[in-house]
Symmetry: C2
């Protein structure tokens, strides 16, 4: 007998028919003798509908009251899900965030969980009931309803699993796991049976949309065994996200290839190389609330260096203006260059730690395809390159093949 | 400075535009220095929509979970109403039933209020805030959400007014007060400036749909000054429902005429008149969960009497079957007769207590119009007759004229 937390997103509970399907799956687990906590999101589209309604009343809705309004989305789903379970012969009881007492801080619309009272849930579980909890919401110490921000239901699932010391937290979604890369770009992309927490973090932050990154961090912090599965088919066990590398398991060198074209590159050429120059450049960028991703500084030649960084493509114009108008004259750089037609492609894998030659194989593969590398950045488990965005698909496919990610033997 | 509870029904908060109108009125009262508690229903149609959704999931929804689902209707409205107030520059804060702590019994979907914690509301009122409370809902001692049944928002309003010892509870609705009779039947019908609690009870139970009868009883029990007003126009002060008769005020003999055609009449003729006969007849009717309204037994002639009663028209067939198949043979009555083409017309007024001749004037008026009276029943402040339903409008109009209800001088 295991204690399992199952989280279902908005598309999995989009209508009564799908809610009944969820109840059927939960009933099967329950019949196998498992204790089940179900976390549900609002029915798809409901949260947006409520936000629109609120904005009709107040252009910028009061955050406390906005939380009161949007928390109703999940409250409807917990009631309906509990009904569907009871209709299927499974004893069930619903809980809002406040009823569990998922205590959060005071930051309305983006609250952080501080503490979870497991007393009532535990009593219901021990009485053989399925506990259905509203995702995305909590309550602050004054009793006001709070919400956790977009994707917060994943966080609720992981946090409940941590608090209850659950055996597994299963995130049911519309894909059946984490893939070696996006199957829309590489049809041969394979589902990974396991992926490490760190790899998942790199994949998630690189644009893999399977899991909200905050919930992965949370799972890592509390060592929650996390599994991503499809809520529409039961044909496989999805992808398990592991936290300890199994020393007996031969890990593949590379787990997957992440990519995105959301970035833009900015360069300052001919920068006098002196202490404090990086701060002189990035300070004003940070002050303008622009997040910087990759940062590259070449070794200096004749006391001059080149400095490049990437920002989100939406911030490109703003960042260029700051470089041109403010930073270039201040630090007496020779030239400012920008390019928003780039993409970033990353190899991710914990195997990189112990296997040399990953980077050089990556570079030779790209060179073989005639793809010029504009920037390189590496971490322990990731090697990223910036290239012209028109080569993105070509780069991903050739790397996928070169690292044999499409052959099951690679795992 | 007064403390006023204002309750707005579903049509008054049906959309963002109307919610803003409510906020404007509340803002005016607030600017005059009054402390305001606003009680709101779900936006019109929302509760029915949620019930339909629940029934799609479970044909007969689990009552606890149904309450979780339908309570969201009012929760959306409190958030939106508080936003509209804040947008109008009025500090406001919303409360669900659980957040106030409106403690109820355990009867899901038809709970009764046991206790109201006024601590938090009082603190917010004293801080100059408008308090916006969800009608229709509460919480039981286990923390589960309960609802008070249809029309429960009126009850919430009155209960809050009682708990807070408010100066007045204002019920805003789509009519501007209590009328001498239904203006759709008698165009000359007049709005009453005051009506006593007992008269209101008689009017409400007779089909006057202005206020839920339970809230009027509640107001009577706790001596809450209740006022019915229009939420769409501010041209008058509506109708005040009073609890103590003002000895200095010359009360009219008759306050209004109530009527309905929801009833059906059943008669047992030639019933042997012996002790226990009324119970022998009405016992089986009660066991079948059929509510009986009027009951008439004539004096006996030659040891035989006639016994008549009225039931809701929907229960007519069921009641007839019980009389025919079971009661008639048991008590050896001669004959069973039924009529579902009847109506009941009632004169209501506390003045009847001290004025003789009301009943005889009523009977002569009806006789003058050629209307045959089938049953008569009287109480201290009401005289009701059952007549053929085809004469209903004629009877109401002629009585309205005979008792000079259309002339303001009558008040």
């Amino acid at each position: 007998m295991a204690l399992i937390v199952q989280k279902y997103g908005g598309t999995s509970v989009a209508n009564p028919e799908r809610i009944r399907k969820v109840a059927e799956r939960v009933a099967r687990f329950h019949q196998q003798g498992h204790q089940i906590v179900v976390v549900v999101s609002a029915m798809s589209g409901e949260t947006d509908k409520l936000i629109r309604l609120a904005k009709e009343v107040q252009a910028v809705p009061d955050p406390r009251e906005l939380d009161v309004v949007i928390a109703t989305g999940e409250q409807v789903t917990i009631g309906l899900t509990a009904m569907a379970l009871i209709a299927a012969g499974v004893p069930a009881v619903s809980y809002t965030g406040a009823q569990v007492r998922i205590l959060t801080d005071e930051s309305h619309t983006k609250a952080r969980i501080l503490e979870i009272d497991q007393h009532n849930m535990r009593a219901d579980l021990d009485a053989g009931k399925v506990v259905v909890v509203a995702g995305f919401q909590g309550v602050n110490e004054h009793g006001a309803i709070t919400t956790l921000g977009r994707g917060g239901s994943d966080t609720t699932g992981v946090a409940l699993a941590a608090a209850l010391n659950a055996d597994e937290c299963q995130i049911y979604t519309d894909v059946d796991g984490v893939y070696t890369t996006d199957p829309r770009v590489v049809p041969e992309a394979r589902r990974l049976e396991t992926v490490t927490f760190e790899e998942m973090l790199e994949m998630a932050s690189m644009g893999s949309k399977v899991l909200q990154i905050r919930s992965v961090e949370f799972a890592g912090k509390y060592k929650v065994k996390l599994r991503v599965l499809s809520s529409f088919e039961d044909k496989n066990d999805g992808t398990l996200i592991t936290f300890e590398e199994d020393p007996n398991m031969e890990k593949p060198i590379i787990s997957g290839i992440a990519f995105n074209r959301d970035e833009a590159k900015l360069s300052l050429l001919g920068v006098p190389d002196r202490p404090g120059i990086a701060f002189a450049i990035l300070g004003p960028i940070g002050e303008a609330n622009i997040d910087v991703d990759m940062i590259i500084q070449n070794t200096s030649v004749d006391g001059l260096t080149d400095f490049s960084f990437t920002v989100h493509r939406n911030e490109f114009a703003k960042a260029m203006e700051i470089l041109d108008a403010k930073i270039k004259p201040e630090i007496q750089a020779r030239e400012v260059r920008g390019d928003n037609k780039i993409c970033k492609v990353s190899l991710v894998g914990v195997g990189m730690r112990t296997h040399a030659g990953v980077a050089s194989k990556m570079f030779s593969t790209l060179a073989h395809e005639g793809i010029n590398i504009q920037m390189i950045s590496t971490s322990e488990i990731k090697t990223s390159v910036v290239i012209d965005e028109k080569y993105m698909e070509l780069a991903v496919r050739s790397l996928h093949r070169a690292f044999e990610l499409d052959s099951p033997g690679a795992v």
